[in-house]
Structures are given as C-alpha cells and as structure tokens.
C-alpha cells in the first residue's frame, strides 16, 4: 500500500465494509414490475430487459428515476404497460409522473440513454427496444414529446439494446450510438429447446447479427445516419452493451462494445468522423481461450488510478467477468488475478458499473446477475435463475473482494438482474443504486455510509462543448494522488447513470486542484476546493458550489 493511501480515512480491507445498501424501494414508492409480454412464447427479447436511469428530468437538482418496460406481443393482450417516470419528492420518496410527463407510451422498450441532445438544459431520452426505438425530447416544462420521426430517427426497426450519447466529432452536439442485438422478429423466431421438448430462449447463435448505429447530431434537432460513413457498420455484431472511453488518450471519444457470442469491438476515433476497429490487436475481442464470450454489460473506469481507463465486461455463466487493465499498449484481462473471475464464474452478469461505494478514492465494481432461462436450475447443477449481485470492493492493492454478503441483507437477495444505474438520489454525498430485474420489480438501494468519508461532485455545463459535458474528463488532485472520471452516458446494460462526476476523498476537507478537460479542447482548472459539495462547473467559468447536505 502506498503511504499516501494511509492518509485516507478508509478502513483496512479486512474490516467490514463501512456502508450498507438498504432496499428502500417500497418506502420510496417505487412499485414497478417489468412486463415481458411473455405468453409461453419465449421470444428472445422477453429475457433481455429492462433498463433504468437516474436523471433529473425537471432540473430541480434531485435525481428522478426512469424504468423501461416491455409490452404485450401483438395478438396476445394481457395488461397495459408503459415505461415509468418517478419524480423525486426530495424526502426519500418518489411519485409516479409517467402520465403527466407524457411518457405513458406503450412500446417494447429495453434500454434508455439520457442526455440533453438539443442543449436546452433538460435531459432528453432515447428509449431502445424491439421495433422502433424512440427519442423523447424534454420540453422543459416537465413533459416529453416523441421526437423520433421529426429527428430523423424513425422508420428503423431493430432489436436495439444499449445506447449512449457522445460527441464523437466534438462539434458540441451529442451524437447517438445504438447497439443492435440480432435480427429478430416474432415472424423470424426460431424454436430452441434445452430438453428437446419445451421451447426455451434461444442463444444469439440462432440469429444473424446486426450492425450498431451511429447517428450524427446535425445540431438542428435532426440526426444523420453515419453508421456506414464512420466505418462502424458491421452486420456481424450482436451488441448488448456500450461504454465510451479514450483508450488512446488523444482526447477523442472511443467506444467499447460488448458483443454476445461475437468478438467485442473497440472502436478508435480517427478524429475525422470515422472509427477504426482495434479490439483484436488490443486484446479485448476474445476471452483468454480465444473464443468470443457472451458480452452483456460494459463499463470503463480508472480503477487502478493510473490515469488510463480499464474496462469491465459481464459475460455468460462459466465465462466469468472480464476485467481489463490498460497497459498503454493494449488491454490485459486481470479478472483472475484480482479475484473477480472466480467469484463471477457461476453468475450470468448483465449491468456493471465502476463507482466509489465507500468514497475512499478507489473505484469499486458493481455487477447485477440473473440467468436468461428460468429452467436453468433443472439443467445445470449449481446454477440458478435468480442470482445475487456482486459488489467487488477495491482493496487498493490490486484485488477486489466480493462483499455482497456484508452490506446488508437486502442486497444479496437473488434476482434476475438486468439494468443497473448509479446516482445520489438522497443528496447525502454517496452514490445510491438502482437495479431492474427481468419480469420482476425494480430495486432502489440507499447507500448508508457510516465512516464519515466525504465526496466532491462536479456537475458540468458545456458552452462550446455539449451542454451535459459528456466526454469531459474531470481530474482531482488530493493527498492521495490523482483521480479521474469521465462524464459519460451509456455504460452498464440498457441503463443510464447520473451524469455528474463523484469522487470519494476520504476524510479530506479540501482538494488541492480540479481540472476539467472539455470535449471542446478547453481546460479549466480550480484550486483548493472544499469537499462535501457539488460544484456546478460551467465551461470557462468559476465553479459554483451547491451544497448537497
């Protein structure tokens, strides 16, 4: 352990975790249940969703919750279902404002990407799903309008999964990347069976892949499909998760795409509107055995505090999670060495996110699990449909310890986990957790941190850059060294986390310096900032503190 780490007020790893994740779903008034539309059909999309998001749709400074939902299959009506928007009542409870917000829309939704694509200061939504995915523009008056057709994103039918907003051409307007899974429709459904009799959910090998989409934001509220022009077109992909990063550290946003049974893709931004796929030569396309794994969720973060972003990818059971460390010249899977591989072997992972759960200045890793087939228990010994999530605690010495069983009885409850998002809904400084489950409820976990560790948070507002500051890199220097976070949309699986960057600083009351590298190329630097605050950082202006306690 480095000497400077001792300065932090975090406990030794042998001690129990200093926080509990308490299930406050019911108390918060979240009464969502995912509807798959299943009628015995066992259509592939039924087992894939749903996603979730933390967003501040009404810009009141308190995080609201969006939960994506499925719907009945055509010809098989069961019950109406829509996605759900819950407004934060600022007292630990939420109110269902779906109808009032104009989001009581029925669609076969899967994922959500949140960002202010039109730079009007209010977060917009892109809901992915089976068939036509939809863009909902925030009117700024607490409502959304469907802008799919007017934005040029209409007339596209696919099995779309995760999506993210990023400014790949650094023109100040957020572009949209959408993952598409396989070419599937009820008419093309293939009969698959595990026991030779009953229909089961097919693995993606049964279907042809599909290309991801890249839509360039023209800045006038419309989008241009630049999938082919950018070199991202790849009809063989079966993509489920996407995260943005800058692996070559050139200041231009790159992408890592997790593919199911196909090689993962690592797209390097060529800075000219095109991308070059470099996953094989960077060692992230395949598993150690040379086979493409079943990539589901993905996230990128500087978990080693080297200034380079590593990558986490959840995979199928018996494939283990991948945890890739950036060596500067590529990636090396260190899941086995860090203890993550063995712990995740018997789990089928979906959403995964790096976040500093105990605010000790080191990124921990959260992953939700759940099998795709409810009969797996009968077919695979030791495997269950509902599975407990993982919280891998960073021991600051190169290992991660699964502390799922030590952070409260609610967390470890087995679930068919899918979506995962992070955000501080109660504004107490630490990060809370939102999960969704397939054909089940959503879970809101409040982080009750007891060690007194503090955080410092930066909410960015771009001027020349996109208004959300997506793609910006925030770095802080404190007694423990340097930490970095990227303002990013997407990551995880089908989900969107709160955009502000949260840093754990232990017991420190000040940080020496904060720098923001904006996507526009501008760098802002601030010195001696008190911690335990959120700062609103407008591009080119001094930070404005917003107390979160």
């Amino acid at each position: 352990m480095r000497r400077r780490d001792l300065l932090l007020a975090a406990p030794a790893m042998a001690a129990p975790p200093p926080f509990q994740l308490v299930d406050v779903t019911r108390a918060a008034g979240i009464d969502f249940t995912h509807h798959t539309g299943g009628f015995g059909s066992r259509y592939l999309p039924e087992t894939m969703g749903p996603g979730c998001a933390f967003l501040d749709y009404d810009n009141d400074g308190w995080l609201d919750i969006l939960l994506v939902n499925g719907q009945d299959w055509p010809g098989h009506p069961q019950r109406p279902s829509t996605l759900k928007l819950y407004r934060n009542n600022r007292n630990g409870t939420f109110s269902d404002v779906t109808r009032a917000a104009g989001l009581d829309v029925s669609m076969y939704g899967l994922g959500v990407a949140v960002a202010d694509y039109n730079n009007d200061g209010f977060p917009d939504l892109y809901i992915t799903g089976v068939g036509q995915s939809r863009l909902f523009r925030n009117t700024g008056r607490g409502t959304y309008v469907d802008a799919t057709a007017s934005s040029g994103l209409g007339n596209r039918s696919a099995f779309s999964t995760s999506a993210l907003w990023f400014d790949f051409d650094r023109d100040g307007h957020l572009d949209l990347f959408v993952c598409n899974y396989v070419r599937w429709s009820p008419e093309q459904d293939v009969f698959c069976s595990l026991d030779g009799k009953a229909k089961s959910y097919c693995t993606p090998e049964a279907y042809r892949g599909n290309t991801c989409w890249l839509f360039r934001n023209r800045g006038d509220g419309t989008f241009e499909d630049v999938t082919a022009k950018s070199g991202l077109f790849d009809a063989s992909s079966k993509s489920l998760g996407v995260a943005m990063l800058d692996f070559d550290q050139d200041g231009w946003a790159d992408l890592i795409v997790a593919n199911d049974t196909q090689p993962n893709k690592l797209y390097r931004n060529n800075r000219d509107g095109t991308f070059r796929e470099m996953a094989v030569r960077n060692g992230i396309a395949f598993g150690d055995d040379g086979r493409a794994r079943a990539g589901m969720g993905v996230d990128a973060g500087d978990f080693r505090r080297t200034g380079r972003e590593g990558i986490a990818i959840t995979n199928f059971d018996n494939e283990m999670m991948g945890l890739y460390e950036s060596t500067g010249g590529g990636f090396v899977d260190i899941a086995a060495a860090t203890g993550i591989a063995a712990a995740s072997r018997a789990r089928l992972g979906f959403g995964c996110l790096f976040f500093d759960a105990d605010l000790d200045g080191h990124l921990d890793l959260l992953a939700v699990n759940g099998h795709i087939d409810d009969s797996v228990r009968n077919l695979q010994r030791g495997m269950s449909y509902a599975q407990p999530p993982h919280l891998f605690w960073n021991d600051r010495a190169g290992k991660f310890r699964d502390i799922g069983a030590e952070i409260g009885p609610d967390f470890l409850k087995p679930k068919v986990g899918r979506g995962l998002a992070i955000g501080d809904f109660d504004r107490d400084g630490d990060l809370d957790v939102l999960m969704t489950t397939n054909h089940g409820p959503a879970y809101l976990y409040r982080n009750d941190l007891a060690n007194g560790n503090k955080s410092i948070r930066f909410r960015l507002e771009g001027r020349k850059s996109n208004r959300d500051g997506i793609g910006a890199v925030v770095k802080i220097d404190d007694a423990s060294g340097t930490q970095m976070r990227r303002i990013r949309s997407g990551s995880s699986y089908l989900s969107s986390s709160a955009l502000p960057a949260t840093f754990g600083v232990g017991a420190q009351t000040y940080i020496k310096r904060a720098t923001i590298e904006w996507p526009s190329g501008r760098n802002d630097e601030f010195k001696n900032l008190p911690t335990a605050r959120t700062y609103l950082c407008v591009e080119g202006e001094a930070p404005r503190p917003l107390d979160y306690r």
């Binding site: 596209r156 290309t211 999938t227 082919a228 070199g231 009809a235």
Partner: protein, 437 residues
C-alpha cells in the same frame, strides 16, 4: 597349527571398478534418456506445435471466410437499406485479419508444405481481393445489382474455392500431426524398451557386485578366524611355557636354594658351637639372615607356583592366597567358599588361580577399595569365580590391559568364559565360568 594363508588381496579395487561401471551405465542411460526427451521435444516443437499453430491460423482463415460469406449474404439481401459501400469497413477489417492469418500460416508452413501449394493459396487470395475491389468499385459507381452480380458470379464461387482449399490444408495439417504423433509414440516405445534393457543390466550388475561382496566378506572372515585361532594357540603356548618356567623356577628355588640355605643354617649352627665367644653373635646374625632368606625363597617359590595347589587343590589355595592378599594389601576380603570342593587338576587350577591373582592385583592397584568380595562356587554346571569390588569402576574409555587379555586367554584355555562388567552402583565385577571337563 594351520598353514598360513597367502597374501590377502583387497576387494576395494574391484568394488570401485564395479561402482564406476554402474555410474557409467547410469550416465549412459541418463544421457540416452535426455537425448530421447530432447528429440521428442524437437519433434513436438518442429511439427506438433507448429502444426497446431498453423491449424489455429487455418481455423482463423476459415472463420474469416465464413464472416465474408455472411457479409456477402447480407449484401445480397439489401440489408436494412444500407448501400453496399457500407460493408467496406467490415470487409477491410476481415481482409486485414485474413492477410495477417495467411502471413502467419505461411511462415509456420515453411519447410513443411509444398511451396507451390503456398503460392497457390496466396495467389487465390490475391485473385479474391482483386474481385472484392472490383465489386466495391462497381458498388460505389453503379447500381447495386451490378456489384451483387459480381458477388454471385465471382466472389461466392471464389470464396467457396478458398474454403475448400483451407479445408484441404487443415486435413493435410491433421495428417501431418498424426504422423508426428506416431513418431512420438515410436520414441516412447524405444525409451520404454531401453528402460527394460537398462533395468536388466542393472539387475545383473547388482547381483554380480553382491556376489563378489559376499565372497570377499567370507574370505575375510575365514582369514580372521584362522588368525584368531593362531593367536589363541600362540597365547596358550606362551601361558604354558610361562607356567612351566615358573614351576621350574619355583622348584629350583624351593628344592635347591632351600636345601642350600637349610644346609648353610645347619653349618652355621655347628660353627656357632665351636666359634670363639667374640664370633658367636656374628654367627647368630648370619643364621637369622640365612633363615630369613630361606623364608623369602620359600614365599617366592609359593607365589611363583604354589605347591599348595598341587598338594591340596584349588579351594585351600584360594583361601591361602586371599589371606596372603589381605595381609599384603590390607584390603578386607569377604570370601564365600564353595559347598563342594573343586576337584580340578593342578594344570587347570593354576589358570583359575592366576585369574584370581590378576583380578585381585588389579582391584588393589586401581579400584581404591577397602574391601573386596570373592565367591567361588562349584555345582553340576561347572565352577564359577566371582570377584566384586565397589571401587571407582571401569573408566569410560576402558581398554583391556595385557593382564586382562591374559585372563581371557586363560579362560579360553579352560574352555570357559570371562566377563568384566560394571555393577549397578560403583565398582567392577569379574566373573569366570568354567565348565567341568
């Protein structure tokens, strides 16, 4: 007396030679095994590993060809309305990967494959990429139907041919790997056979060396026994000679010097009667001197060869000697006489007497004692003499003295045994057991 054996020969040279031979054989076998393993590793590295790597590259080529086939199928399907040019990047990626795989595979196949075959593979791919480029150019310029025509009429058949070629190379690769496996199996069999030969040779050598050792040991023991017998005979002769000499000296002292001194005493008595008054005292002194000399001569004669032994036997001799010992040394003797008087001839009793004499002398000299116990017993089994003292005992580095060796020799002459041991407390015990003849 046995004849003296010839000059003994040491087995060491033969043993060293045997050891060296065994070592040489071990070295030869070790070298052979190492060479075989090296040969196997070479075969493995040259053929099996290379083949495996080449097979992986061929599988990679097959996988890329499959990806190309799927891409072409999508291109013919008017995939989601994307123009055929959209596939450009995907095709370029596959081409980059394929070129790399072919290059690696060709390197691995060098020297193992007909160069014409490699050249044909590379030429086929060149031809294919030319067709791809033509299709891409057509797609960029004209309607998709023309490019799709190239896919159907040229690219797909070429792709099929490439797939067949790759499959053939894979089969060829497998056959070569099979042959390599057979070669390795042959090497294993050879090693196994030679291991048995080595074991047999080792067994013969071990048996031979063991037999030589046994024979050598037997000779050594025989020689040792002969030497021991000779030494015993010599010792017994020495003892006999010593006893004979002592007896002779004793008799001479007793008979001749004794008679002379008696006569001298008688003459001095007569002379005293006729001597003038002034010489009477001097003659008296001479008579006393003669008498003392006579007694000393008699005592010396007794010590050298007690006449009592011949006249009265062992029991009284022991008692007489113990009294003498007690008187001379001042050490009290606790003597237990036998219930039945031993009836040994003087020629045997003298050895028992000498043993007792030596044991007492040793005790008086070394044991620092004031008392000593002597037990003489005689029963049907034989005679037993036990001399016990509670002195300082035997030293830790006790080495038998000449006297003690003589005692043992005498015991052997009697056909008995002599044991010397420490008591449970301080002290020493000497026990002589003599069977009845």
């Amino acid at each position: 007396m046995d004849a003296l054996p010839g000059k003994p020969t040491s087995p060491s040279r033969r043993l060293v030679a045997g050891g060296l031979l065994t070592l040489l054989i071990l070295l030869a076998y070790g070298t052979y095994t190492l060479n075989s393993v090296r040969r196997m590793r070479q075969v493995q590295a040259d053929i099996v590993d290379q083949n495996r790597k080449a097979a992986l590259q061929l599988i990679r080529i097959e996988s890329d060809l499959n990806a190309l086939a799927l891409a072409m199928r999508d291109m013919l399907d008017n995939f989601d309305g994307y123009p055929l040019a959209a596939w450009s990047a995907q095709l370029d990626r596959i081409r980059e990967n394929l070129d790399d795989a072919i290059s690696v595979e060709s390197r691995l196949a060098t020297g193992r494959r007909d160069p014409q075959q490699t050249a044909y593979l590379q030429a086929s791919f060149r031809q294919f990429w030319l067709s791809i480029d033509r299709m891409k150019a057509t797609a960029a310029e004209g309607p998709p139907a023309a490019a799709q025509g190239i896919i159907r009429q040229t690219l797909q058949p070429q792709l099929e041919a490439l797939s067949s070629l790759t499959a053939r190379l894979l089969v060829q690769n497998n056959a070569e790997e099979q042959r390599a496996a057979e070669r390795i199996a042959a090497i294993f069999a050879e090693i196994e056979r030679n291991a048995y030969v080595f074991l047999a040779i080792s067994l013969v050598l071990v048996v031979g060396v063991s037999a030589a050792l046994i024979r050598s040991n037997r000779n050594l023991f025989d020689r040792l026994a002969t030497l021991s017998n000779q030494r015993r005979e010599l010792a017994q002769q020495l003892i006999s000679t010593q006893e004979s000499t002592l007896r002779s000296v004793s008799r001479d002292l007793h008979d001749e010097f004794g008679q002379i001194l008696i006569a001298l005493g008688a003459m001095l008595t007569r002379a005293q009667k006729r001597a003038p008054q002034e010489f009477v005292d001097q003659v008296q002194e001479s008579k006393v001197l003669v008498q003392e000399t006579l007694e000393r001569v008699r005592a010396l004669s007794q010590r050298l060869q007690p006449v009592i032994l011949e006249e009265e036997g062992l029991g009284p001799t022991v008692e007489w000697h113990l009294l003498l010992f007690q008187r001379q040394t001042g050490i009290a003797v606790d003597y237990t006489a036998p219930d039945t008087a031993p009836t040994l001839p003087a020629s045997r009793s003298i050895h028992i007497y000498r043993i007792l004499q030596e044991a007492l002398n040793n005790a008086a000299r070394h044991a620092r004692i004031a008392e000593i116990t002597v037990r003489l017993s005689n029963d049907a089994a034989g005679l037993e003499l036990c001399v016990e003292d509670h002195g300082i005992g035997l030293p830790a580095n006790f080495v038998p003295s000449v006297g003690l060796t003589g005692m043992c020799e005498r015991a052997e002459l009697l056909g008995g045994t002599l044991s010397i041991g420490a008591l449970t407390g301080p002290g020493t015990t000497i026990k002589l057991t003599v069977p009845h003849v």
